[in-house]
């Protein structure tokens, strides 16, 4: 059934976006840490196409790492910031821009889910 698949995709993207938000927050917090390298999550498209290996959880007490958390990689230093004197590669402006992107995508995601949910309810009610 089509819409159900959409919900799964949407929740996957929401997870990816929240992991990215966490990574960006880490970059911003470490904007003045000597030797810190900026990180980012691999693009959502790439995450969708490849399925990573995960440890099986056979008991409720087992911890499993979320799939996205293993997708965090170091980014290349950008042209304008480069590697700073302290060995840091975080550019605040760039990180804030990424945050704006995350916000927009998340809002769109939530809006889509809401719309589809409403459509499904419509078919059930009447």
């Amino acid at each position: 059934m089509q819409p159900i698949q959409l919900f799964e995709l949407a929740s996957k993207q929401a997870e990816w976006l929240s992991v990215r938000q966490g990574v960006v927050a880490g970059n911003i917090a470490n904007a003045n840490t000597p030797g810190f390298r900026a990180k980012d999550v691999t693009p959502f498209q790439a995450v969708l196409e490849t399925t990573g290996m995960r440890m099986a959880a056979t008991q409720p007490g087992h911890f499993t790492e979320t799939e996205m958390a293993s997708r965090v990689v170091e980014t290349k230093p950008t042209e304008e910031i480069g590697v700073q004197e302290s060995g840091n590669t975080v550019g605040l402006a760039e990180e804030l821009m990424k945050q704006g992107q995350v916000k927009r995508d998340f809002d769109m995601n939530a809006g889509l889910v809401k719309a589809f949910h409403r459509m499904m309810l419509m078919t059930v009610r009447r």
Binding site: S18, I28, A29, N30, T33, P34, K103, A110
Partner: protein, 139 residues
Amino acid sequence: MDPLVASMKVAASGLEAQSTRIRIVSENLANARSTGDTPGADPFRRKTVTFAAELDRATGASLVEVQRLGFDEGEFTTEYDPGNPAADTNGVVKMPNVNMLVEMADMREANRSYEANLQSIKQSRDLISATIDLLRASQ
């Protein structure tokens, strides 16, 4: 732990680190004219602060913490002021190695970083409430 909650935790650690930095800057500025009180004594020495990334084991996120509060080993400036209790036999007083301009620049930078962290807390909160709104809207 939810990544969004984790990101708020990370940003909060950034706020704490930057406020420590601002505290050190104010200490330096407040003591910019603090001399010793015996002849030839060393005056106030400028303090410095260093940050380090710290892996939070519960969430896997990289928090920031104050690694070390150090001292600036730079030379003291000297001033001729025979009436000062810290003046040596030639009437020269050692003054703290605090440079106002450097401190002001440092304060500005700490301020910017603090604002950026604040922004990420706000945003994480917005994202969480967007998710909660999914439950609320379709009545």
